[in-house]
Symmetry: D2
Subunit: 358 residues, 4 copies
Amino acid sequence: MDFASDNTAGASQPILASVLATNEGAAPAYGQDSLTAKAGRLLEDVFERKIASFLVNTGTAANALALGAISPPFGAIFCHMQAHVMEDECGAPEMFTGGAKLIGIAGRAGKIAPADFKSVLADFPRGLEKQVQPAALSLSQVTESGTIYTCMELAELTALAHDAGLMVHMDGARFANALVSLQCTPAEMSWKAGIDVLSFGATKNGALACEAVIFFDPLKAAGLPFQRKRSGHTLSKGRFLGAQMAAYLENGHWLDLAVRANDQARRLARGLTKIPGVRMPWPCEANEVFAILPGAIDAALKAGGALYYPWKFRDGSHDCPPPAKDEVFVRLVTSYATLPSDVDGFMTLAMTAGRERI
Amino acid sequence: MDFASDNTAGASQPILASVLATNEGAAPAYGQDSLTAKAGRLLEDVFERKIASFLVNTGTAANALALGAISPPFGAIFCHMQAHVMEDECGAPEMFTGGAKLIGIAGRAGKIAPADFKSVLADFPRGLEKQVQPAALSLSQVTESGTIYTCMELAELTALAHDAGLMVHMDGARFANALVSLQCTPAEMSWKAGIDVLSFGATKNGALACEAVIFFDPLKAAGLPFQRKRSGHTLSKGRFLGAQMAAYLENGHWLDLAVRANDQARRLARGLTKIPGVRMPWPCEANEVFAILPGAIDAALKAGGALYYPWKFRDGSHDCPPPAKDEVFVRLVTSYATLPSDVDGFMTLAMTAGRERI
Amino acid sequence: MDFASDNTAGASQPILASVLATNEGAAPAYGQDSLTAKAGRLLEDVFERKIASFLVNTGTAANALALGAISPPFGAIFCHMQAHVMEDECGAPEMFTGGAKLIGIAGRAGKIAPADFKSVLADFPRGLEKQVQPAALSLSQVTESGTIYTCMELAELTALAHDAGLMVHMDGARFANALVSLQCTPAEMSWKAGIDVLSFGATKNGALACEAVIFFDPLKAAGLPFQRKRSGHTLSKGRFLGAQMAAYLENGHWLDLAVRANDQARRLARGLTKIPGVRMPWPCEANEVFAILPGAIDAALKAGGALYYPWKFRDGSHDCPPPAKDEVFVRLVTSYATLPSDVDGFMTLAMTAGRERI
Amino acid sequence: MDFASDNTAGASQPILASVLATNEGAAPAYGQDSLTAKAGRLLEDVFERKIASFLVNTGTAANALALGAISPPFGAIFCHMQAHVMEDECGAPEMFTGGAKLIGIAGRAGKIAPADFKSVLADFPRGLEKQVQPAALSLSQVTESGTIYTCMELAELTALAHDAGLMVHMDGARFANALVSLQCTPAEMSWKAGIDVLSFGATKNGALACEAVIFFDPLKAAGLPFQRKRSGHTLSKGRFLGAQMAAYLENGHWLDLAVRANDQARRLARGLTKIPGVRMPWPCEANEVFAILPGAIDAALKAGGALYYPWKFRDGSHDCPPPAKDEVFVRLVTSYATLPSDVDGFMTLAMTAGRERI
């Protein structure tokens, strides 16, 4: 019953098998191997166009390299106030851009509202020397609140950004989970919606450690090979990254994995709504469930061995009242490896405790 | 017959098996898992003292994080002119230090002579505002020329550095190959010889992608967790790094791997010395052989399928005359995966071509 | 009638005379001259203790060098949301710290409330790897809203900072204006109140271009000479900086200048309160007056040749309702060079227009 | 008899008078004043074309801002081994480029030979990920050895650079001294010879503290206003920079000043050649004289009150044998303020000591 995060699981069998298979014999180093090439082709198939793609080990590296490519040191990068790039990467975007400024925008349920983005943009007139210059918009899909932008919403935000001369980055650490939820194509949820650069995550969805930075306009990627190298992210035995990404994409494996994760999250959410006293500030739209639990239920779950993290409740970003003194706000994350029995076990504990409460 | 590099091989079976074994079940993320803890303990056993160790994916990351911890942005970092940190990392040390300056020191066979270091140090008087300030010495063990510093030589250089207030870093991408060649203890070749921070490589010697940054004085490592995170080098599923390093160290596996690589290099070197017309500018001291080959031999080897890279001959760093017009200067690298039959095949091709030449 | 800023005035006569006087003959370069030494001694007299002081040309340089000395690249620097370092320096602190993050704290009248600082600090637990680490608090005295912290308020904030292991910087671009308003000693308003590093401004108060970075603990300044040099802020003909600062401090000249500026601001504020329809969101505590003017008065003032800038009204930071449609929010700044007749002329225009309005 | 440097003199009377004159009344801040505009127009007149110019206080700032605009963080900047940007700016280019690498090229008399530049360029093949990428060539005119490139020599080097896709910077801290020596036009010695960005110095030649960064293609300067601001180099009372540069350029004042400095240097050089035992490794081509003095002469000069610095003799960069044990290698610099009587006094001391020696 581990709902702590989707990175506490290992790798899926097909991905692990691919790593094993590629281990035999010699292969050119530094990403010049055939598996990395294959991964690049598969990514182009998936996104239905020519791209420039770069494999790295972590989402933070993918995000920071992406932002470093689209913002000068004196740039302003707009993102949600609670975005991963803002709060959880210890200043990686600042390091890779040479000191750009992230401007956090408040917004309900982890999402930036177009009107708010417009108004914040207005505070940064271009050309005013004393201010950092608007350079990029970074959107998280899935958001930090487990919610999802529709393709229309993405398009509206990216249009505002492009009109103001900004490039748009998508932090797609959970790209697959959003995609199977929206039931659209990868192209529709990225470049067709105005995304310029994408951090395409695989780690949380079944890889060992593999993400791709994807430039839909390959010309913008001219400096990336060098920035990747000098930041220490060009793997010596690059075939192991290629092997992961190729297996991830082949035969729709990545979508299957995401469907599994999302299904269990939905079951969890559905179950929780039935328990009196449990409230959910946001809808469950991908593989995360956020819930305010009565303290007694929380205690029973923990006593029963369930793992999950408390979450921070911030005023103004939820549609429900804050947790009371005897309540706990928590995040529950499912992964491809979450079993129906994990959810069942969790629900049994919660329901029993819920019943006793009354 | 792949002698291109020691990173064209895959991972050793025990290391791969360890990765497989750790895949089962859930584990805490970001290096809080038990295997990473075990790797840390094994490293302390190996080095016979308390250390602070940090696992990362690449040698460039290890070097750059290490140097970033011991040099301010206005620092001077002294290293051999052909050091990996100087020539092969696309400016990673500059990025991680915030712009420090690497000062290349010339030296025979890839090694810095104490007298030369002393004289270069004299050019950088402390406190002169217009000059970067001496901060660190970085030594490569094995060097870029495949040679090795003795523990005495290391001690002499580190004493000069310490006397001048510098910290000393060792780029140990091939630490194991040097160690089994010197037949000393890891402690003797590192902190007992005055090394303060070590990039301890495993990738080239049988891991998939795993290196450790090791601080012998843990207090110096206070900023490392944050610098690792913000440079994107804190792995989400950190257990996979722990699994590699633990398997690498257990039961002396790492030493066995290095012995294998060195043995084949020695066989290669011994064979080459017997071929008329072949010259070797430096002794083979670890798992690399540098040779000047007659063009005809080079052609026959390539035609026969041998893989290796040409190398750059630089005046003043060799004990033999430069390659003539019809000669080629090459580097041959063996790894734990090099088979005796690879070396035999190579030698047969070379000897046949050598005989025909006469 | 120039109330645009206190940097639209030239230099005071004694300061200009000092520059002229030092022009004769040769003097050692790069701040090794006798006038720079004298300025250093005078600063020690003024602050009643040993300090390390560094003269530079701009307030942005002073602030950025100071913050760069007390925050690592992975640091969090707390400041008011509208602080100059946050909004008006185009990312200079980010550049000089190597990418630290500025955390803006909301607060009425440009001031940070201790309770708010405490609560924001609580959001940045030390040691959490994914977060930038609390490193510094930067306080502006005079604030961006023209208000002033009392010495007690400063002490309360710096105590919170020190308890949490942070260093405290004061942006004293208008240090003199605050000082003569508080009628305390420079020591009381700085190190005795817990300030560790001070940007001590002279430019806005009568110099041509001269500020000092002051470290009350000289040991913290070890890197400053080199950071100043490599940021291009070590003046070749340094005597011209020394000449300005020495003349600024001698015989209390700097205090006289500030008294003049503050006096005219107070007259301006007093006059404005008497005009019906004029509202002032904050008290005038130094040399700045912020006012909401009826549109007709604003128009008449501009037509009459008065110069000043509109200001941005932000909800939650004022004690009065926002400007209505026919009102304008403006900032009026006086300087040592503002003449009583400037204020009189301004008031006559305003009062006439105010009367006509009714 | 101060020959220590050309920055030990004060400012020329016309420049000082201009600063005084502009002090009256109010003027827009941050370089929006009329004098800065005038300086910009005068620079365009002088260089006979549209340019983008930015005034700053120091040569280090000018050089670093210029290089930051033409090299990415992963760039290689080629310059002479003893160039000011390499040895005397404490890593400013590294700071402003975000960590680019300066590649020093050896060369006689402070000059880079085209053949050497070509050969060094060949060591940096474009696109090799592990290497920094060739981005810029920086040439010093006057060089650190007091010598001058002819316009033909400049054109040859810039053509090589441009053919390899590099931009070319000129460090013209002593631009005027070189110009009056070559007797060509400013355009001929800069953009007509292939220079893309110029640090145009005035400080050493009679200003208080004023240099211009000049982009001959204004489009390349898009980021400069922001980089200048965030590095703290946008002066608040910008009129004082405008006043200096305008007076410097008006009526050919700058050329008169340089002629004076060069004349005295030539007299000094001519005099020294007549003293037995004095050798000069390089010709005197601008306002610097480098000489190897017999110890007795050196001692007599110092005893007589002459000021100058010892210089470093580096093998391979001179056309004469190194100083013997009883000889001293020194640099003598003249400025616009050097009086014929200073030179006469110096020569008398030297000749007397020279005669006694024999």
